[in-house]
Every structure is written in C-alpha cells, then in structure tokens.
Symmetry: C2
C-alpha cells in the first residue's frame, strides 16, 4: 500500500505563486493611521527591506525564488505528502484523506519557508540584524535558524509567560545563536513603560511586537521580521501548495476539500492558494475550510474592518477580520492561533465567499490529534490539530453520505515541544474557554473608524 | 548545490542484511549461566517469539522484510542522506562529509526500525502485550509507537530518575497508548525487592530490565522486547545502511570512513554492516569508527568477555566488550550510550580489528553538535553528537593532510527532547565525568569466569 508521495528534489518550485495576480477583486489598500491615506513603500522602509516591500504589493503572478533560498529549502524540501490510509480505515470513511507534512523542517514547522526568504533579502540589502516577537516560540525559532544560516544577528522578544513556562523553544533559538529576552523587557521604551506600570506583567504578543518594531525602527543596522499575516509571508509559503499539487497528481486525485488551521493565515494560505487559483481561474468546484480556535475566532465571529496589527497601535491599518487589536485571547495551547486579526488575503477570500471558516474548542482538537497520532504515527502540534478535527468531521460526513471526497490538509508542524499540553489532555485536565463575547465586544469598540 | 539525496520509495529495501553470513570468524555462542552450555531456542521462548529467536541465530544472508513492516517503514522511510557542504566549508576541509538522517521517524530516532519489526512478529505469533525498559525514553517511545500501530499493549518500565526529570518522553509514550511506570515499581518482585531495601531508589537501566523481563516471563500473553545489542535488532537496522549505499551511489562517492556512536551498537551497526560486507568480501580499504562516551567506554576500556546483559543477572551470558554488568555509568545526557556492554557482533568486529573505537567527553561532543546545527540546521541528539565530534576530528585531519576523504556518519536522532542539555551546555554548566577507573575495576571483578 502506497502511503507517502516523495517529490524529487528537481521538482522543488522555482517560483512563488502570487494570488494577487488572480484575485477577482481588488485588495483594500493598507492605510496610514495618521493620514487615513494609503501608505507607500517609503512608509515601510524603516522596518522592511525594499525587496520585501515590493513583494508585498506586487501583482506579478510568479516571483522567482532566489537560488540561495532554494539551497536552504533543500535541507528539508520537498516535504512529503501522505495518504492517511490508516486514519481512513479507522474512521470507516469512503473519503480519501491526504496531508502535506511541514514538520520535517529543522524548526519543526512551515515557518522557515518565509524566515529563510526574509533573512536572505535582508542580508542582500546589507541588514546586519533582525528583530521579531514570538509567543510559544515557533516563529522565533524559525527566524533564529534562518538568521544563523545567513549570518545575521537575531533578537527575539519572547512573551514573558512563555519564556518562563516553555523554556525549550527558547533554548532552541539560543542554540541557533539568537538572543532571546522576555518581553516586556528593559531594552525598549515600550517595554520599560509597561514595566513601570506593572513590574510583574506576563507580557503579550502585542507588547512583544511593539518592542521588536521599536528596536528595528531605532537602529540603522536592524530590520523587523513578521511570521504571518502579510502578503509577502503568504507568498513565500506557496512552495507548500505547489509541491502538494504535483504530489496529488502523483497520487492521481484532485482535492475536493482543502483544510488548514488559521492564526495569522500563513500555513493555510501556503497550502491552499495555488489550488485557489484553479477555483478562481478554472472554476474548479472545491471547498476551502479555515479552522480557528473557539477562543479566538477572528473570521467566524470578528468584523471585517480596518484595524491595527498590534495592541500598541504602532502598525499601519489593514483591512481584515479582527476581534479588535486590544483583544487578548485565552491561553490555549495552540499559541500560533492566538492572534486577533487575520491575513488580508484570507480575510478577503472569506468575505468574497471563496472559502469558509469554522471554530472548535481545544479539547475536541486534542482528541482528534490523538486519533491521528494513534493511526498515522506523527504527533501533531496543537495548531494543526484544529485542522485535523475538521478533517475528521468532513470524513465522517462522507461516511454518512457515502461520498468518496478527497480531503487535503496541512499538517503544519509536529508536537515535540507541546508534550505538556498532551499530558494535560491525557490526564483530563485540559480546559476549554468559551467564546469571550463581552471582551470581544469591548475590543471591537476600540477598532478605529476608518474606511467605514 | 545539491545537498540532499532522496531515495525513491520504490527503493525501500526488501530484505535485511545479515552479517552473520559473511563474518570471517565464528560468533561465540550465548551461554546459559547455570549450565555453562550454549543455550537453545527453547531457552529464549518465554521472552521472545520464535521468529525473532530464529533470526537471532540465522546465517541466511538476506532475510525478507514482511510487507506489513515495509508498509509502516514507508511512513518515514527511505530517510534522507545529506552532504554537509556547509559544515565542510566551515571546517575548511577537503573531506566530503555525508550523513544519513534517522530523526525523521515519528519517534525521532532509528529505534522504530526494529520496534516495528519486533511488534509485527510478536503480533503474528499471537502475543497481546510487550514489555520493555527505557532510560531517557527513546527506545520506549519507539516501541510504544510500534505497538500502537499493530494493536499491541505496551508496558514500559522507565528508570525512575528519568521518569520524574524528563517527563516529555513519558507523555510521548502515553500519547501512543503505552502504560509507563517508574522503575523500580511495585508491579514486579524485582521492583518490590529493590524498594524494600531502598524506598527512594532512583532506579537504573539494569533494574528496569529485570522488571520488564520478569513481567514478560510470568505472563502467558506477554513477551519482552529489547532495543539494541542482540543480533536480530542489528539485523533490522540494516535498512539504514542499505539505503545509504544506494544514496552514496547517487552522490557518486564511496565512503572511506564510516562513523557512528555506540551504546548497545544498533545505530552504528545499521549504517555500517552493509558496508562492512564490502570490506570483508570485496576487501574494500575503509575504516569504521565507533564512538563512545568517556564515561562509559565499553570497547575502548572494557574487557572482551562473557557477561550478563543486565545488573540483576537474569539474562544469558554473552561474549562482548563489557565494563561489568554491575557498573552504573555517570548521568551523562546521552542516555542511549549508558550501557555497560556492547552488541556481540560489534564486539567481535572490534576484537578482530575490522573496526576501531574511540571515546570523548560530553562537552566536546556538545560543542561539535553546536557547530553542526549552526551550519546544517538540524539539532542532533546527544548520542549522535559523539559521532559528530569524531567526524569533525577526521575532517580536520584531512585539512592537515590535504586528503579528500569521504566520511559518512549516522545522525541517528534529533535533539528536540534534549533542549535542557543544550541549555546547560550553552550556560557553561555542563560537566564532564572522568573515566571511573576504580568503579570499572570493581565491576569487572564481578564478571563471571566463563569460557576464559
């Protein structure tokens, strides 16, 4: 029985696919919060190298992947695509379940696909040092790896609560040579200000972003790097979906349903956008399902509006599904899904009904992950466990209806650094957090009234 | 630049290679400690299924891999072989460095190669439940995975000190459905006896083996499973070296030197035995280097003698390099290398000068691992870090001599569960343990006088 589709290294994509070339609607411009006007490349220049700024707004359909980036990709790419025969059998479903596995990268997730590209372009433009924020550490470790491979310094502002509770991702970043500080830190004005008000502040992703942005904006040799949300980040992730298309051809099936978890949207976009092109251009009849945590359901329950990307209101305004930039989600284990907003591309696709979203509580996702690992072997990270829950529900619907649909999902990372979460789940101690209706209402009231 | 050699799934080996068919000397028989006579298959029947006992003594050159085992292998095999261009460049060496990477298995090491085979044969013979011991948990998690995939119960006796200090491997085993107890436990007479004498006993691998063996020997539905040392375990690991031979052909080079770390010997044997055949049969001029920890250097400093495989003297006597079965090694981070003995096949190859051994302290190995991860990306487990130290030394010797030797080593697992060890190393807190001369002399005095 064939279960794994390995793509030959010669088939590693040569270009990223840019959905902006094919969107059937214009993407809303990014707005300067002071002027209310669309921002230009120069507004972003203190934070990003010009090549990435140009990618952010490019409408070129295919953008060439520089050879030094492909050389690093080859350390783990092409990644395997599996058919989950054993899971299908356990579910008794006629559905065909396929998954692309991104956990084989040295950092254990899809994040290095963009981290490597970002480090490369910064290096090309003479940048010496990158800053970023990280929650549980998946993005920070990817950027630490990438900076190390291109000889850049890397400074990671890690949410203080995670810094102390989950030290292993911190050690991973340090092993790759990054400097990691708990945020709020004394290294920035933003951090100092928070610490003056509350010396015991556990930090938040919003605070950490403010620190990383301030650090980059105030140092000549330094730029800032973001792991999701932005167009160029989603662009870099399309290597995933392009490989998956070739591998689905090898398997002899085309997906009817594509599923991925969404935090900022990059892993879902990476797998789905090359297929989305077929839906837009070739009118393929297929469904796309973005899966969110019930504790932070930006698409399912948020507003589609202009909002800040961070809590401290230092970023431009972007049109997206948002729960409000002051909303702080509950401490679910899927740290990568705890973001108040959503990538503008994903938001626009949802708003235009080209895809759908749904939300689950974390315990049912861990139950789905357990069923997956006990049939397929791989232990999923808590984030893609949300995708797995939706996959199982779709497969069970096929059992009900007798339809042999082909389901494809992105297993975006392994759970080796999340064993304490599995421990809680197995011990029956994992809690769910009800959708925080009142908190969201309060946060939505603080969304700026722009372009309404 | 080509750096990764992916083998097509159609090239997954169909047979294991059995070096017993080609050894230029007879392997000393296993001896019954009571009678002093060679044991027969029936003596092992309470512990192992007959198919594995027959593999243990088979001299058939190629033994077919059952299709259900190959089906599971395909979840992660063939594993990639890399050329470490970036490490070569950093070292400024003319040597060509290649490594086979076994960390891509769901358990993160080479151990599932035999765990899956053992679970399969036990299942075939109607066994319902397997027991084993584990130290840091690498072997236990591999067996937990394999038992889960074949629907067997699995009970793991985990050394109590590790059970409490390193909970994440325990959770991994439980995630795959295994029952894990700290050893010494109250579940066996052996465990009860130890706890009576010392209720606070931190346990040891020797005690855990005694418990797992007693459990299997006293229950009709249960057998015992071992993760290294025995001939059939080394046999199953030869998928590694067979794949590597094909991949080295793809790369266009044949190794001059093959390097691996050794605890019981299985990962080293897995990579090297298919090449050893070329040395024995075709008189290839090549070197094999087994790398040990200075804290437990069985080959480098032990005696080649009949000894027990466990501390409690419950196993048969096997001829091997040993530091004495009562020797308890210091608590180095490379838990998989803390074994007093050595596989009989590896021992005999060393004794007959077909290979060599050397020993290193752990800090220099972590330094080598750091150099590796900062050039190649992958974070190695502490065990293969020993191999990496020897690889770097060999490569630097090539720089000195100007020789462009081809070096191949086994990167037997990743270090995701060893980040606290890296943390100690990076903080300069890692200790070395001098070779414990007096303790070894004492233990060697307790080696039984058999066949001398």
């Amino acid at each position: 029985m064939e279960t794994k589709y390995n793509l030959d290294e010669s088939k590693l994509p040569t270009h990223w696919y840019n959905i902006l070339a094919d969107l059937p609607f214009p993407l809303a411009p990014v707005i300067h919060p002071g002027t209310g006007q669309p921002i230009g490349p120069q507004d972003l220049a203190p934070l990003f190298p010009m090549s990435l700024i140009m990618q952010e707004v490019s409408t070129e359909r295919f953008i060439e992947i520089p050879e030094p980036v492909r050389e690093i990709y080859r350390l783990w790419r092409p990644t395997p695509l599996f058919r989950a025969h054993r899971l299908e059998k356990a579910l008794g479903t006629p559905a065909r379940i396929f998954y692309k596995y991104e956990g084989v990268s040295p950092a254990g997730s899809h994040k290095p696909n963009t981290a490597v590209a970002q480090a490369y372009y910064n290096k090309q433009e003479g940048v010496k040092r990158l800053t970023t924020e990280t929650g549980a550490g998946q993005w920070g470790s990817a950027l630490a790896l990438a900076c190390n491979l291109f000889g850049l310094e890397c400074k990671v502002y890690m949410v203080k609560a995670s810094f102390h509770q989950k030290p292993y991702r911190r050690v991973m970043m340090e092993t790759w040579g990054a400097k990691v500080v708990p945020s709020p830190s004394r290294d920035t004005h933003a951090g100092q200000h928070i610490l003056e008000v509350d010396p015991e502040s556990p930090g938040s992703l919003g605070i950490a972003i403010s620190e990383a942005v301030e650090d980059a904006a105030t140092r000549e040799d330094t730029k800032y790097s973001l792991g999701s949300v932005l167009n160029h980040v989603l662009l870099h992730q399309t290597v995933v979906g392009q490989e998956a298309k070739l591998q689905m051809e090898m398997a002899g099936y085309y997906p009817d349903v594509i599923i991925g978890c969404v935090g900022g949207g990059s892993n879902f976009a990476g797998l789905s956008l090359p297929f989305m092109r077929d839906k837009i251009v070739d009118k393929k009849n297929m469904r796309f399902i973005a899966v969110e945590p019930e504790a932070c359901p930006s698409i399912s329950r948020g507003e589609y509006a202009y909002d800040f990307g961070d809590t401290a209101e230092t970023t431009p305004l972007i049109k997206m599904h948002t729960l409000g930039h002051t909303f702080i989600p509950a401490a679910i284990h899927a740290g990568g899904l705890r973001y108040h907003g959503m990538a503008p591309i994903i938001s626009a696709l949802c708003y235009n009904k080209l895809m759908e979203a749904r939300a689950y509580h974390q315990t049912v996702c861990f139950q789905a992950a357990l069923e997956f690992t006990r049939t397929e072997g791989i232990i999923p990270a808590p984030e893609p466990s949300h995708a797995i829950k939706a996959v199982i529900d779709e497969a069970l619907a096929c059992r009900q209806s007798g339809e042999a649909r082909t389901i494809l999902f992105n297993l975006s990372g392994h759970g080796h650094f999340d064993m304490s979460a599995y421990d809680s789940f197995l011990a029956g101690k994992l809690e769910d957090y009800a959708y925080p209706e009142a908190k969201v209402r309060e946060a939505l009231a603080r969304v700026p009234k722009v372009g309404v």
